[in-house]
Each structure stands twice: as structure tokens, then as C-alpha cells.
């Protein structure tokens, strides 16, 4: 089977204190090593995800789940080891971060779409569907500052989930909007999961994990504890506490 994502011996550190001298020396160094002044976010991560697979990542807050997604998507470069991917990745996280208050809903679709790496034609093709899904109607021509927080979240989800990427990375984006919209966006994400080539999802929603994931990874203190069947790993996570 073809590999879609491969992490090989990935270590990733964050600076603990913003020491100026250390910071400047970090820039010049070719290799950054673990040490007391660094927080080890990821340590020796080896993970292989096959094309078409849906993999869940669970773990406590601060265990490194989101950092793994961010290393895969390209935001953080590992300090040692390698991240390889096949095809375009798209990270769904904090869906309103790419939106701007001064632009209209329609302009925001173009802005956020382009931030996610889509081209103008793609966004124009998707526009009607986005407007319909976000249930904004006439409001799409109004500046975003007139929107309620629920409306903003709906627009964000609608844009973020409009185009199916080859590798989809999801970081806890399902809890927005009212009950009805939550159901709708969950269904949308499930469709996306079904249609996307490969999915890595970080969530605390265990029933969702059980229903969609082929495998689940348990991350603890920056290391992979266990990889296996969803049921088994979720149980292992519960035994952690």
C-alpha cells in the first residue's frame, strides 16, 4: 500500500524562555539539541499513514497531538527527523482565524480560501455551495463585523471544508455553532473524511473516533505510547488517568 504521510524519528522542541542570546544562537545553529532550556514537544515520533486511511490521535492536553498535525502540515519544521507527505495537505484548525472583520462575507470566502491554498476559480465555483451551507443568505454581502460569532464559525467551516484535499488534517473543529449546525458540520466533516484520500484527526470525541478511524494513536508527553484499534487505544487512554 502507498504511504501518504511518514514521520521518521521526529523530534521537535520549543524554546522555554525567550532568552535573546539563545534565540540568536538557535538561528545560526544547523542542529538544535534537547536541553534544559527547551520544552520537548515531540520526541522520536515514527508514524506511517497509508493512502485512504483515517487515523485518530488522542492524548491529554499538551501531549503533542496538535504539534504532530502542525509538523505534518508544514507549520513547524522538526529539529531532527523527517516529515514526508504525498499530495497537498490541508489543516482544519481554528476556522475563524483567516477571516477579516472589514471584508464582506463573499470577500472573506476568497481571502480564507486563498489562505488555505485554493485558486480564484476554485473559490468562485464553490461560492454558491458555501453560501448555502453557511446559511448566510443576504448576509454574504455584509461586512463580517455585523456577523454573530455563530455566523462567523459557519462561514469558516463552510470555506474550510469546501474543497477536498488529498490529505486532510483536522484539529478539534467540530464544536461550533448551535446544535443543529454542529450536526450539519459533523456530517460535512464525515463526508469530507469519506471523500478525502487520507485523514488525520485530533479529537476528544471518542464516539466519533470509534466510528470513523481505522487506527488510533495515543500520544503522551510528546511520545507515541501505542498505536492500534480505536477501542483498544481509547481504553488505554482512559487507563492513563
Amino acid at each position: 500500500m502507498n504511504t501518504a504521510i511518514r514521520l521518521t524519528d521526529v523530534d521537535l522542541y520549543f524554546p522555554k524562555k525567550q532568552g535573546i542570546l539563545q534565540g540568536f544562537s538557535d538561528l545560526v545553529k544547523t542542529k538544535i539539541e534537547a536541553g534544559p532550556k527547551r520544552f520537548t514537544a515531540l520526541s522520536g515520533i515514527n508514524l506511517e499513514v497509508n493512502v485512504g486511511e483515517v487515523v485518530g490521535i488522542i492524548g491529554r492536553n499538551g501531549s503533542g497531538k496538535s504539534t504532530i498535525l502542525r509538523a505534518i502540515s508544514g507549520i513547524y519544521r522538526p529539529d531532527s527527523g523527517m516529515v514526508q507527505v504525498r499530495g497537498q495537505t490541508s489543516l482544519l484548525a481554528g476556522v475563524s482565524v483567516g477571516l477579516n472583520h472589514n471584508l464582506t462575507g463573499r470577500e472573506n470566502v476568497h481571502l480564507y480560501g486563498s489562505i488555505l491554498g485554493h485558486q480564484r476559480e476554485t473559490m468562485e465555483d464553490m461560492m454558491e455551495e458555501i453560501i448555502e451551507f453557511s446559511e448566510l443568505g443576504e448576509f454574504i454581502e455584509q461586512p463580517l463585523r455585523t456577523y454573530s460569532s455563530g455566523m462567523k464559525a459557519r462561514l469558516g467551516i463552510a470555506v474550510a471544508s469546501a474543497v477536498e484535499p488529498e490529505i486532510l488534517l483536522i484539529d478539534e473543529v467540530l464544536g461550533v455553532g448551535d446544535q443543529e449546525f454542529r450536526e450539519k458540520s459533523k456530517k460535512r466533516i464525515l463526508d469530507l473524511v469519506e471523500n478525502s484520500g487520507t485523514v488525520v484527526i485530533v479529537s476528544h470525541n471518542f464516539s466519533l473516533m470509534k466510528s470513523i478511524c481505522d487506527r488510533v494513536v495515543l500520544v503522551h508527553k510528546g511520545k507515541i505510547e501505542q498505536i492500534g484499534e480505536p477501542e483498544e487505544i481509547i481504553q488505554a487512554y482512559k487507563n492513563l488517568s
Binding site: G74, P78, G87, T89, L103, S114, I115
Partner: protein
């Protein structure tokens, strides 16, 4: 290893000296995003102002008026074209200082976006400069009434205006790009450059002109030192481009300024490309 075909490294380390090529091709490939971000920034700039875009013209005009009055009181009435020269000086210097400071702070300003979505960070460093360039070009409209009043007409020398602006832009962006990663690690860099830009205002021909300097320095002993400042030539070029008079600057000084701006720009792109992925962890 046939299954590895098509796998690409997500964080390839590009050879240092090909940095500028990668930088520019990232901008070209993401032009749609760049344009959208420029539009966003322009919209944000004057959103709550009644005069809106009018401030682009009003600000340099008012500033020029203040400096003109001040200078006339201190130094007596100079050259009749002096008001025009001060206004142009303020527009070009404003372009330099705002472009530089916006590039310098580009990573911090988009901290939240950088941590949530991956896209080439070169774009974040380019959009503030393009935004500022647009504003500067529009603000040149404020020169028209002064030209009309002083009966200055457009001449064939006008080509020096875009060239001077280009040199200013490359210099400001280059310095900003070099310093942007350092500024993430320590915001002292930002404070330091705020000071440098303020000091640069006085040592560059903003309130004075190259010709005024030549008059004072009749022996020419300071000329080479003053011309070390790479902003002297572009400011002088823009002034002569508008008033149509012949620019009497030695070619070696012109080549020096042009080369300096271009070199700073290339080094800036290289440094930025090399360091941006490291400093993201400091955001």
C-alpha cells in the same frame, strides 16, 4: 522502495543562496493570496475614517506644510520649489520607513494565522510592502496641486520617479526581511529600528535637498560620506523626476545606491527564507 514514489519532504532545506529564487517563486505561485491580503490591509487602514483615502493625500500635505513653515522660519526663504521638494521628500521617506517597519513586524502581526494554517510566510513579508507601495503611489496625487501652484510641468525626466521608488522599496523591504526573524526573538530590534528610521529622517535629504547640501559643502569633503546613505540618490531622483531639472549626481554614487539596494534586497530574501521556519517556534 517503489511505494516512496511521490512522497516529498515537507520541510526541505533549500540551499542558502537559492533563497531569493524560492522567495520570489512563492510569491508568484501565491499571487491570488497576496492580492487578497493586500486588499484586506487596504480596507482595514481607513475603515473608520470619514475622509478615508483622503488621508493618503492629506497626511503628507499637512506634514509638508508644517516642515515648510518651520524651515522657512529657521532658515529664511529658500528655493521657490522648496515646498514641492519637502512634500516629495516626505512621501518617499514615509514610504521607506513604513515599508521597513511593516516588513520588520510581519511575523508577529500574523502570529495567529501562522500557527493555524500553513502557507509560504514570504507572502506575509511581501503584502505590507505592496500595500504601502499602493498607498504611496496614490499619495502622489497630493503633489499635483503644489505643481500647479508652482507652475511646474511634467517632463521626460518622470521615469526617475518609479525608479527612485523601486530603489526605496527594495532597500526598505530588504532591511525589513533581514530583521523580521530577529525581531521575533527580541522585539528590541523593532525599537532599535524605530530609532534608526527617525535618525535617518535627518541624515537623509527629506527636509533638505542634495543641491542644498552641495551649496553648503563647497569643498566637497563631506560628499562621499553623505552619499554612503543609500537613500540620498532615490530621494533626489524622485525630486528631479517631478520638477524636470537635470540631476547632477555622479554615476558612481548612483551605481552605489542602486547596487546597495539590490544587494540588501537579495540578502534580505536569503536571510528571511533561511530563518523564518526556525523563528515560528518563538511566536
Amino acid at each position: 522502495m517503489s511505494e516512496d514514489v511521490g512522497l516529498r519532504e515537507q520541510h526541505p532545506i533549500v540551499p542558502t543562496f537559492s533563497g531569493p529564487i524560492h522567495f520570489l517563486s512563492a510569491i508568484r505561485e501565491n499571487w491570488y493570496l497576496t492580492v487578497n491580503l493586500v486588499r484586506r490591509d487596504l480596507r482595514a487602514k481607513y475603515r473608520r475614517a470619514v475622509i478615508g483615502y483622503g488621508w493618503t493625500w492629506l497626511e503628507p500635505l499637512l506634514l509638508a506644510a508644517v516642515y515648510y513653515i518651520l524651515f522657512t522660519i529657521i532658515a529664511g526663504t529658500p528655493d521657490p520649489l522648496y515646498p514641492l521638494h519637502v512634500l516629495l521628500g516626505i512621501i518617499v521617506w514615509g514610504h521607506f520607513s513604513k515599508s521597513l517597519q511593516a516588513t520588520l513586524a510581519c511575523l508577529q502581526k500574523s502570529r495567529n494565522l501562522i500557527k493555524q494554517v500553513f502557507f509560504p510566510r514570504e507572502i506575509l513579508a511581501t503584502t505590507p510592502v505592496l500595500t504601502q507601495l499602493w498607498i504611496t503611489v496614490v499619495s502622489f496625487i497630493s503633489v499635483l496641486p503644489i505643481m500647479l501652484y508652482l507652475e511646474v510641468e511634467f517632463s521626460t525626466m518622470i521615469w526617475m520617479v518609479p525608479l527612485g521608488l523601486l530603489m526605496t522599496t527594495l532597500l526598505a523591504m530588504g532591511i525589513g526581511l533581514m530583521m523580521a526573524p530577529l525581531n521575533v526573538i527580541s522585539e528590541d530590534i523593532g525599537h532599535l529600528f524605530r530609532f534608526i528610521v527617525r535618525a535617518g529622517f535627518f541624515v537623509s535629504p527629506v527636509m533638505w535637498t542634495y543641491e542644498m547640501f552641495l551649496e553648503r559643502d563647497s569643498t566637497g569633503q563631506w560628499l562621499d560620506i553623505v552619499m554612503l546613505n543609500p537613500m540620498v540618490v532615490p530621494l533626489t531622483m524622485v525630486r528631479h523626476g517631478i520638477d524636470g531639472s537635470v540631476m547632477d549626481v555622479a554615476w558612481n554614487h548612483i551605481w552605489y545606491s542602486a547596487g546597495f539596494s539590490l544587494a540588501v534586497f537579495l540578502i534580505g530574501m536569503t536571510v528571511f527564507k533561511r530563518w523564518e521556519s526556525k523563528v515560528v517556534k518563538y511566536l
